[in-house]
């Protein structure tokens, strides 16, 4: 069979297979087992970005401009990384408000403006037509090349292959994309098909690349060799691209914006997105795909140059295998290109036809009273018909554009021109979701101005090039005004024509958008929508926008007419589910149902049209913006009030809890006080008992042995001393704890104080036959504290240590050293030590810890608690740990005073 016949057959078989894939996807979706709900299919569907332009055009561009093809892929790579958060917000908005397309998105943001929706649609259609023509051009060119190699394909002779391709794709797209009316319902089958196409085109291109590089040529080295022989070594340099630095940046930025605003990208990335988190995975998967499909662009292009094929560089991918006699490889290349083209055409036409029907045609039809659309029984058929015609029309326009411009421009140039038109939507979107003040007049004027500048700087020169307009317009400017030359506006020259157009169109666009928005006041619906968009994270709760009186029956009829009976019932059913009962036909519909109906209609008609349609049945007008804002304000107030109430009740609850806790604490304190008094009483009565008993014994027993008398007297004296100490300690502690202690704060020398304490304790140590060693670090040792109290602590610690010493060879070591910001004093002994479990308890009042109960230590049980209070009062810390000597180490720190300490200055 003739090669071209095989190619055509293959195309039809391929489309049939694709249709089967799509049906499978739809069937699975119908069973609730979605095949597309995963990040890989999502990423592959994003790869609809790579069209016939990628397949044929990039190679063509690389063959003439080397690396010049790269910005178009660098842009989306950066966009995937940088725009993830923008995309996230757009997705939140889209899902929250039932957005159907990019036009719907923009118009909804700017007060559901029909004018803006229409304008956006026009820009999108105009921007898409050249793009569509690229696809037709590329596929048709490949077919024609193969026709040359099929001498006996008489049936094709004289046929218009581009028209053939256009019609084929139109039929297929109509079959594919307009089966449902609800534009927010995911086209699961379509997305799956597009994902499969992304795999097919990648495989085809890589196969082609590998065969060309390693089979037709002996690797990259051989291609470079051939390139040098052909005298085109410059293709591998940056200079070979013909781009300046500014061009690189601008064209990359343009491609990045395209990712956001191309209708088909918006369709797959936003409308068809199943789950938000898929975006995260695509951030790196999508650039990976771009890298893979671009890997062999340069080798194939350079191989084409080296082979001196002749003909259009955009045809290299098919011409190269044909020239080498590998017909099968040419078919692989053709199939890849065809799959890239079909994917683009399907998604683009579905997206555009939704926009054309919802935002351009239906609003107009609805306003033409003569049509009496409101009497139509079922409008859903009309809507579908409009969409089908729109698909056919867009493809035919693409065909016409192809006929007009023909092969005058490379595929890549036309693609960039299309990008530049679409880029005009970007400021409206970005400002729309981040800037509350962005206003409808600014958006309309900005978009119109940007679009006009685009026509003037890119389309006018192209038309002059084809002879449609006078060439002097371009060379000398209108009426000879040089500053207005369309390719060097205001004297800006030296840029790539698309960079030049981008600079001026976006300047006009953004400038007017910002300036006008700052000058005008938004109307109230606009303000509301702006709020809903910009603060989407916080305001997703539905706002009730309709007051009024509509009957359930009237709404149901409306829904039936636009959505068909099935979907209309579904809307009512979801209302019944939310409400807990179904409303009867003659009942009054409340705001919630009206809102639900509007949302349902918006899915089919877009926000602007749905508003008009619902307005026709809600008696007493659609709520005027003023009333709306009033109600909103009121709602806001009620919300605020309830919020305040909630806060108050929370505060009350908190206060109650605090009271309860305070009460518990008081009771606890009361118990503690009782315990303390009982304990103090015990501690006071114990020595008192000994004193009284022995005094009475001494008094009543005149005939006591002198030694015994002496012993008893000694006990009386010792117990009296104990009593005195105890009373002093209790008084000290109560003063400290109640904050009535008088501190005599001043600088004091820690070393001197330590030495004084040592001197005072020498008697005690001698009594215990213990050895006291001192290790006092030299250097300044001034601290700020109450010297007498510090002395009290030191003596207490030393006497404490002495109480626990072994009978023989008792040792106490006193160490003082300075750390960076504090002094540390340690009193170590070789007694039994303090078990870890008791190391905190020893600082509690009356908690004497001793293993050996027979030798209960003679202390008041208040020394360490008092010491802790004193040390902590002066910013230090006191604790117990193991001593190097084997016993306990009682340690405390005191801060090194700052040089500017007021107590030091007073000295």
């Amino acid at each position: 069979m003739a090669l071209v016949g095989t190619a055509l057959t293959l195309s039809i078989l391929y489309l049939a297979a694709l249709f089967a894939v799509a049906s499978f996807g739809d069937r699975r979706a119908g069973q609730g087992r979605s095949v597309i709900a995963n990040p890989y299919v999502y990423t592959l569907s994003l790869a609809v970005y790579c069209t016939a332009w990628t397949f044929f055009g990039s190679v063509g561009l690389a063959a003439t401009g080397g690396l010049a093809f790269m910005p178009v892929y660098l842009g989306p790579t950066l966009a995937a990384l940088l725009f993830a958060f923008v995309l996230r917000k757009i997705l939140l908005i889209t899902k929250a408000y039932g957005i159907t397309s990019i036009a719907d998105f923009i118009s909804a943001r700017y007060g559901k403006s029909g004018l803006l929706a229409g304008l956006v649609t026009i820009v999108a259609v105009v921007g898409t037509v050249p793009y569509m023509s690229i696809q037709l051009n590329a596929v048709a060119a490949s077919l024609e090349l193969m026709l040359v190699h099929s001498p006996n394909a008489a049936f094709m002779t004289g046929a218009d292959s581009a028209l053939l391709v256009a019609l084929l794709l139109a039929v297929f797209s109509i079959l594919f994309g307009t089966r449902h009316i609800d534009a927010t319902e995911h086209h699961q089958g379509m997305v799956l098909a597009v994902a499969v196409e992304s795999i097919v085109k990648l495989l085809c291109f890589v196969t082609l690349g590998v065969v060309v590089t390693f089979w037709l040529f002996d690797g990259p080295g051989a291609i470079l060799e051939g390139l040098r022989e052909a005298g085109r070594g410059d293709l591998l340099t940056l200079a070979g691209t013909g781009y300046g630095n500014a061009d690189w940046i601008l064209l990359t930025a343009l491609s990045a914006l395209a990712m956001l605003v191309l209708p088909r990208q918006f369709q797959v990335a936003v409308i068809e997105n199943v789950e938000l988190p898929h975006v995260r995975r695509s951030i790196w998967l999508f650039p990976l795909y771009l890298f893979a499909i671009n890997l062999f662009v340069l080798p194939i292009a350079l191989a084409g140059v080296a082979s001196a094929l002749g003909g259009s560089p955009d045809s290299i991918v098919v011409a190269l295998p044909l020239a080498a006699g590998h017909d099968w490889l040419a078919l692989v290349a053709y199939l890849g290109g065809f799959s890239a083209a079909t994917a683009m055409v399907i998604v683009e036409t579905v997206a555009l036809s939704t926009m054309v029907s919802n935002d351009l045609v239906m609003p107009v039809l609805l306003r033409i009273k003569a049509l009496r659309l409101e009497r139509w029984h079922d409008l859903s058929r009309l809507i579908l018909m409009v969409r089908r015609v729109a698909i056919l029309l867009v493809l035919l326009l693409g065909y016409v554009f192809f006929q007009l411009i023909g092969n005058r421009y490379g595929l890549a140039s036309i693609g960039l021109i299309a990008f530049c038109a679409m880029a005009q939507l970007a400021p409206l979107i970005i400002a729309g979701i981040y800037w509350r003040e962005a206003a409808l007049p600014g958006a309309v004027l900005g978009l119109a101005a940007g679009f006009a500048v685009w026509i003037y700087t890119l389309i006018v020169p192209a038309m002059a090039g084809t002879g449609t307009l006078s060439i002097t317009l371009v060379t000398e400017g209108p009426a000879g005004i040089g500053l207005l030359r369309p390719t060097a506006l205001f004297g800006l020259s030296g840029l790539h024509p698309v960079s030049h157009a981008l600079v001026w169109s976006l300047t006009a666009n953004v400038g007017l958008l910002v300036l006008v928005s700052l000058l005008v006041r938004q109307n109230k619906l606009e303000r509301l929508q702006a709020l809903l968009f910009v603060d989407v994270e916080s305001s997703r709760a539905s706002t009730r926008l309709w007051r009024g009186e509509a009957q359930v029956g009237a709404l149901l009829d409306l829904l039936r007419r636009f959505l068909g009976p099935e979907r209309a019932e579904a809307v009512l059913a979801s209302d019944a589910a939310a409400r807990g009962r179904a409303l009867a036909r003659d009942e009054a519909a409340d705001a919630a149902l009206v809102q639900l109906s509007e949302r349902g209609l918006a899915r089919a008609l877009g926000a602007a049209s749905a508003r008009v349609v619902v307005g026709s049945v809600v008696r007493g007008e659609v709520m005027g913006p003023d009333e709306l804002m009033e109600i909103l304000d009121e709602t806001q107030k009620v919300l605020e009030y309830s919020h305040r109430l909630e806060e108050k009740s929370l505060a009350l609850e908190e206060a109650t809890g605090e009271l309860r806790r305070a009460n518990e604490r008081l009771q606890q304190l009361d118990r503690l006080k009782d315990d303390f008094i009982a304990t103090v009483s015990h501690e006071l009565r114990t020595p008192l008992t000994s004193i009284r008993s022995f005094s009475e014994i001494l008094h009543d027993t005149p005939d006591l042995e002198p030694a015994e008398r002496q012993h008893f007297l000694h006990i009386v004296i010792r117990e009296s001393e104990r009593l005195t100490r105890l009373i002093n300690d209790v008084l000290d502690l109560s003063k400290i704890e109640s904050g009535r202690m008088e501190w005599h704060v001043g600088p004091c020398d820690l070393r001197d104080t330590v030495q004084e304490a040592v001197a005072a304790s020498e008697g005690l140590m001698a009594e215990k036959k213990a050895r006291l060693e001192c290790e006092l670090e030299a250097g300044a040792s001034v601290v700020v504290c109450d010297r007498d109290r510090l002395l009290q602590v030191l003596i207490n610690l030393l006497s404490n240590a002495s109480k626990f010493l072994p009978a023989e060879d008792g040792r106490v070591r006193l160490i003082m050293r300075r750390h960076r910001d504090r002094f540390e004093v340690r009193v170590e002994d070789n007694g039994p030590g303090v078990p870890p479990a008791y190391r905190e308890a020893v600082f509690e009042k009356f908690r004497q810890v001793s293993d050996d109960l027979k030798s209960r230590p003679k202390g008041t049980g208040l020394g360490l608690p008092i010491s802790r209070h004193i040390i902590e009062h002066f910013g230090g810390r006191i604790w117990v740990e193991d001593a190097a000597l084997g016993g306990a180490a009682l340690c405390f720190t005191l801060p090194v005073p700052r040089a500017d300490h007021p107590a030091l200055a007073a000295e």
Binding site: S681, R685, L688, S693, E696, I697, L853
Partner: protein, 123 residues
């Protein structure tokens, strides 16, 4: 027969004074420094009277009292509890546990000796 008195207290000076007082009054005296020692001392030949301090570490006076009263063979042992805490509810608790008297420290030595004599039927 000489009556035996067991003095139980963790304060050595108080033990010393009570020991002196009881001996001077003509009793045979044994001493214990805490509850466990007291119970051990009771095991051999139970004393006729226990002078029992309440607040002692580990086994306190209340518990010793309770254990003594739980033993039928010690039922004849009189118990005088001595306390330095002086709370009314503790006196009640001590008497409820089976103590025969509850004396608050510091006490009059003469009155205490008199009370012991009375309790042991030696006036």
């Amino acid at each position: 027969m000489t009556k035996r008195v067991l003095v139980v207290d963790d304060e050595p000076n108080i033990v010393l004074s009570l020991e002196f007082l009881m001996k001077r009054a003509g009793f045979e005296v044994a001493v214990a420094r805490n509850g466990s020692e007291a119970l051990a001392a009771l095991e051999g030949s139970p004393p006729h009277l226990l002078l029992l301090d309440v607040m002692m570490p580990e086994l306190d006076g209340f518990e010793v009292c309770e254990r003594v009263r739980a033993r039928p063979d010690w039922k004849d042992t009189k118990i005088i509890m001595l306390t330095a805490r002086g709370r009314e509810q503790e006196r009640e608790r001590g008497l409820a546990l089976g103590a025969d008297a509850y004396v608050t420290k510091p006490f009059s030595t003469r009155e205490l000796v008199e009370q012991v004599r009375l309790m042991l039927g030696e006036s």
